[in-house]
Amino acid sequence: MKIIYHCYGGSHSSVIAAALHLGMLPKNQIPTEEMLMAIPYYDKTSNADFGSIRFMGKDEFNNEVYVLGKKSMGERCSHLLLGIAEVLGCKDELLVVNCFNRVNLAMKLGGFSSRKMGLVSLGRPILVRGSQKAFRELVNLVEITRLQAMNLG
């Protein structure tokens, strides 16, 4: 099965969710800035990465985990991918997870400053605080997703 976590830029919430799913981050500990920065793609993407579906790894059940930055497509992104999967005849092999509704204001402001404006030194500390604040929410989302994947798989 392929699991695609998506958010606005494919750089923060979806990347944390994918890292949690793959065990790159412990679920029971709020991550430090160093732990977050060690995750592949975390706060490292550019505008060219919008729409790119990037491979993050395989979980213990051999599910492939990806991240995607969908810009302002919203929930339409999930529908679009599921619709294309239906056209291709592989809808059962796919789980699409929207992470954007777990993103808080600090993550939005920090992410915007760091990625869009290029003000890394200003945006990143705000982003990290936001990511730490949203961490439990993302853990919850990943737990739900893993259960869904187990039921579907």
């Binding site: 992104c77 294309i84 999967a85 056209v87």
Partner: protein, 157 residues
């Protein structure tokens, strides 16, 4: 092969283009096409099956909102990730003047007269853009026929 006509909405210009391509629209009565301006269908976000072309390719129209280039890239990468080749999913963006406004108006709720505003705007825009859509699709059809002969789909990417 599957061909997706991708527009900011899937029930206006993209749907008209797809219908021209499969030969369902011979005159100018685009407004009587099946599923034209069906905003309920648009809200589902799923590709709308239009029919098959002369080569047997399955043709769909799809709405992707204002970021067409991102949606196209997403679909193409997704097709490969799912284990299919690029040539099994051809994405044809359909762009017209006023397309973003059309997508915006399509999101107005029905209780605020969304359907009315959408139909009104769509008829003004599409009526004026129909010749351009037809020219674009004629050119696309020629490319498809040429490509079928050589099986060189790289031309489209």
């Amino acid at each position: 092969m599957n061909i997706i006509f991708l527009g900011t909405t899937g029930v206006h210009h993209a749907l008209v283009a797809a219908n021209i391509y499969v030969g369902h629209l011979k005159d100018k009565k685009y407004y009587i096409l099946k599923d034209y301006a069906n905003l309920h269908l648009e809200l589902t976000g799923f590709p709308i099956f239009i029919g098959k072309d002369k080569q047997g390719n399955r043709v769909y129209s799809l709405g992707a909102g204002k970021d067409l280039a991102i949606a196209k890239k997403m679909i193409e990468e997704f097709t490969i990730i799912m284990g299919y080749s690029k040539s099994e999913m051809l994405v044809k963006p359909v762009s017209i003047y006023g397309e973003k406004l059309l997508a915006l108006v399509s999101t107005i709720p029905e209780w605020l007269g969304g359907r009315l505003w959408s139909s009104l705007l769509a008829s003004i825009i599409i009526k004026s853009q129909l010749p351009a859509i037809k020219r674009d699709i004629e050119e696309f059809s020629r490319k498809i026929i040429d490509t079928e002969d050589t099986e060189n789909y790289e031309f489209f990417y």
